[in-house]
Assembly symmetry: C2
Homo-oligomer: 554 residues x 2
Amino acid sequence: MKYSIGIDFGTLSGRAALFEVGSSKEICCSVLNYPHAVIDTGSEYAEKLFGGLPQDFALQHPQDYLDVLSTTIPDVIKQSGVDPKDIIGIGIDFTACTMLPVKKDGTPLCFMDKYKNDPYAYIKLWKHHAAQDKANKLNEIAEERGEKWIKSYGGKISSEWMFPKIWETLDKAPEIYEEADCFVEAADWVIWQLCGKETKNSCTAGYKAMWNKKEGYPSPEFFAALDKRMENVIAEKFSCPVSPLGQKAGEVTAKAAELTGLCEGTAVAVANVDAHVTVPALGMKETGKMLMIMGTSTCHMLLSDEDKYVPGICGSVEDGILPGMIGYEAGQSCVGDHFAWFVENLLDSDYKAEAEAKGIAPQQLLAEKAAAIPAGKSGLLALDWWNGNRSILVDVDLTGMILGMTLATKPEEIYKALVEATAYGTRMIIENFNDHGVPVTGLYAAGGIAVKSPETMQIYADVTGLEIKISGSSQAPALGSAIFGAVAAGKANGGYDSVYDAAEEMGSLSDKVYTPNPSEKAVYDKLFAEYKKLHDYFGRGENNVMKNLKKLKD
Amino acid sequence: MKYSIGIDFGTLSGRAALFEVGSSKEICCSVLNYPHAVIDTGSEYAEKLFGGLPQDFALQHPQDYLDVLSTTIPDVIKQSGVDPKDIIGIGIDFTACTMLPVKKDGTPLCFMDKYKNDPYAYIKLWKHHAAQDKANKLNEIAEERGEKWIKSYGGKISSEWMFPKIWETLDKAPEIYEEADCFVEAADWVIWQLCGKETKNSCTAGYKAMWNKKEGYPSPEFFAALDKRMENVIAEKFSCPVSPLGQKAGEVTAKAAELTGLCEGTAVAVANVDAHVTVPALGMKETGKMLMIMGTSTCHMLLSDEDKYVPGICGSVEDGILPGMIGYEAGQSCVGDHFAWFVENLLDSDYKAEAEAKGIAPQQLLAEKAAAIPAGKSGLLALDWWNGNRSILVDVDLTGMILGMTLATKPEEIYKALVEATAYGTRMIIENFNDHGVPVTGLYAAGGIAVKSPETMQIYADVTGLEIKISGSSQAPALGSAIFGAVAAGKANGGYDSVYDAAEEMGSLSDKVYTPNPSEKAVYDKLFAEYKKLHDYFGRGENNVMKNLKKLKD
């Protein structure tokens, strides 16, 4: 029996899992919470290292990722009793864009004595939000110049992405910009530590660094228009070529073997992103199928042969999800967070007591009560914008709305309306793809909500009118990474020569399939028409009340 | 020293209070809960008397009102030790339209053996809602015929009023219609019991029975258009002339003296309505001043010299509030109810615990936390339509809305937004009066909220930009009734010859005056502009989503 390791680097911890090659069977797993966690304004390390940080900063320490490698890999080897020789490959997935400045040899600038107290020498985590003004300016200039590549990002790039973050560093800490030989995704940096050489994966390059398989990066003229000093940023700091997903990045070096307990020469896959790597973990490989990774927020991954302009999405990237296909990404910024907000702030004390008496979580009580209400019977309708709208309006300044309340409205009705609102949001995304020549014909779901909330999943099936298949693994990202590890090893070494073959054998679906209920669907069609009207009214400029209120608030 | 008694007949009890004439000093009071309470579908009497009642029925028993007279009046006499000879007058106020069918001598049909089990022989309480189809039909016919009087009611009359209720009886129980010599307001019936003869007060006649001082009632042709059998309803069943408020209805008869312990010959004032009678209790007598009686809902009373068409109000009636003036009535159907809904359904358990620890009511805790939030800082905006909109949209099918929520929104912010929404609703009513030639230049407030919630009252001052004076008496309706009792007695008997003189001496204001805070006002002006836009968008047909949702729900 051969094995592959997948490591899922999240926001707060790294989780390694060991899988059998040839099935989705997980042997064991090991988690390390990052010692420095997120270094933000409230963190003790912000004080220690920098004497404080502004509100919108979110940094990480690269040593934490090395600690994940040096503790979780030995741990799964030990737990499993597997001979490291039988571990044929390793793959990782990461949050993105989570990036850092490094020297030519891969040394993070923050490891250098002279920069260890400079926040710009550290890793900017995906949710570092201090580059919003740079993103705004970048979008403006791209639009003025008629840059074509911006269409791949639904017309707008985010402050969370690579070049706004680099531009912020150039602006605030030009010496760091100068000193850095490369700016790299943390995902690629970890792979570099394992196999001793730099690679750039097509997923983060495509979705977060404005790279396109056919056109490459934007032109020097564009970067010069941002800032003269950035004119040659690509030539100077992005010289490493981009590798498609499914490629082998290299092999575990002697040094990395010592760190991890893996054998020298073990195959290392090109890095990947947590949401994207989940697609093969469900065995998905068909065009037209959309995966929803549903947690605090939702990411939508869609496979297609068609490279179309779809406004309001996060990105469309060739080789971005699976090699040889166009991978579309969209997102909703407030899903589980939305329901948690309600439970945390507005949970009636009688309901809390009832949940305690039944020995279930309050949210479960609400979900059960909500499930007993037929579609339309609450009389309520909400817009799911408590955390802005990612797709398809790409507007962080939008806020939540709910209407239809009467003096008889009950908490479970409001709870249900919030769940329904997120389902309508997903249907907007689906219809937007359909309307722009990228049809969505089926749904898959992974993540905490997909696995734990059957009531929510049934509403999604009823609202979208599409069947929903559910991940068979509760650790789908780690499984996806292990699949890429097995592909990096190759068939000759007991793995696979293609991610499609690997996904076929190792991808896993639950037996549970959610099928739309036609009578609920018919009511939801009417409700969705009302949602859409309000979505456009409040979201497309007809009534900017949400923005006006936000301005007044600030 | 002379005294006057005011009795406030509410929905569930009658409350008599004895006041000194010449001041607002209350000597004592006495309350009787009606033994039959409200006879509705859940009531034991519904089963006993009628073998059940439909959902929308709300009846009362006239014996309960007699019991109020026979227990509370002797009780205040006894408590106070006042010689009944020194009680110079009595006045009452009532809910309206609360009406019953009676014989020529005042005997309620339900007192007759043959009708004691017929619900249509009983009193239909103001909130009896079984005549909605009749009201709709009546409004339709009035509009078709271009009836001018309907303009006095903002263009629409309510199912709660006199003629829809009579028409319902004619339709469902024609024998009761036939047998009734008169249909009377319960208020006028109680006065009849005290002084032995029928009177009709100009307040209920004007606001609830489509009577106008100049034009009288609608024409026989109009009533015939409703139902041929109603052609002569006015001649046959409304022959009693209408008396302006402030008149003496008569004197306590020997029989009534025996019932109440009052002296025979004690002056009895023409009946009045609870909201309307409150105006002189605050000493109000100027044009342009609006009184808000703020409880579960709010009634707005406005005095003016001008008889204008003001769309969306409840009514404008000459002599309707004070003799010689035009009294305008408007209303908001959901005020205290709105806040109570939030506390009853969405009170976070942490907040409940905090309120308990502080020994205050949860609503008080919310109000205090809300008061610490400056205008605009919540980023929230609500429409106060949880119970439909009375004025100025007159639409029971509208529902609540709130927007601006983020993941950081706190319960006290939502609570404050609900309070603000009711204040915006009041400002809409004020601006509607201003826009139609009846300027509002100052505010007065009475009722539970006015007395108990300084935080709410300050918001109303800040939102409207008007100073608000507060009732000095917590029993303003009873005081108002006692004022009319003293006027009925007349100056020669130690009372007053005019309600204006009486209001001057006996009306009472609190020392507390709420003054607009200019900086809050400036923010509220902006928020109100947003409210108004949404009010019109959802309320005037541009987006009928609330009605569509309600249809789906039903």
